[in-house]
Symmetry: C2
Subunit: 136 residues, 2 copies
């Protein structure tokens, strides 16, 4: 039930790949980060849970192709490790507002890929830029 420090870095990188796909409106990268051979679940803020990969990717296509969609930055990411399944919990900054997100990853063919994303409004704020990183 432990992952090595190096794995934490790789998990944070996988999480960063997800937010880069978001920032770059890159549906191919978004498609790649979502696991393809493992059960998945996505809960956008205010939405129902989506349990089918095809529908999850459709939802991301709709979000990423919408020019009204906000730019999101990941802040204060923390890794929570349970071995084969691991979470990155982080803030999502949209202007001066924040969401809080749980992103779960499992390995497929040696790569950490997303199996669950839940983002929801929060009145909390990330500590400071200096605290960004894996501290759990």
């Amino acid at each position: 039930m432990e992952v090595l420090m190096a794995d934490r870095e790789v998990l944070l990188f996988a999480n960063e790949v997800f937010y880069q796909a978001f920032a770059n409106r890159d549906i191919d990268a978004m498609q790649h980060i979502w696991a393809s051979g493992t059960p998945v679940c996505c809960i956008h803020p205010g939405w129902d849970a989506i349990h089918v990969r095809e529908y999850i990717l459709e939802s991301w296509h709709s979000i990423l192709s919408n020019p009204e969609s906000p730019t999101i930055h990941c802040r204060a990411a923390q890794v929570v490790t349970w071995g084969d399944v691991n979470a990155v919990v982080c803030f999502e900054q949209i202007g001066q507002s924040f969401l809080i997100a749980t992103n779960l990853f499992v390995q497929e063919a040696g790569q950490w890929r997303m199996v669950l994303h839940q983002a929801s409004p929060t009145s909390a704020k990330p500590p400071t830029e200096d605290d960004v990183g894996a501290i759990n």
Copy 2:
């Protein structure tokens, strides 16, 4: 990466134990359902993530001992299985409003115990009472 149907029932039962603890304002049961030897994380609606078990239980003590805290019913629970770590995704009904929650469980000494809870507002509603159960 598969759990047996029997395990799904046991996971749904563990999830039910959590909501029974909530409904009964039973801090001992809440303490028991949260994993004690595994990293944990709890994100109440609108709150920051809590990563320390002691603080998570303090937050539940504060919620469960507050007579203003609403009564919550679990609706339309679905199991998402990744082997050692599994999720129950469900609606939380508060009067005519709903939250949507991800509850993660791992086994400790043969018992499924909670390692992550995130609940957030949703404008979605559970399908109907008939659809309650594990369908994923």
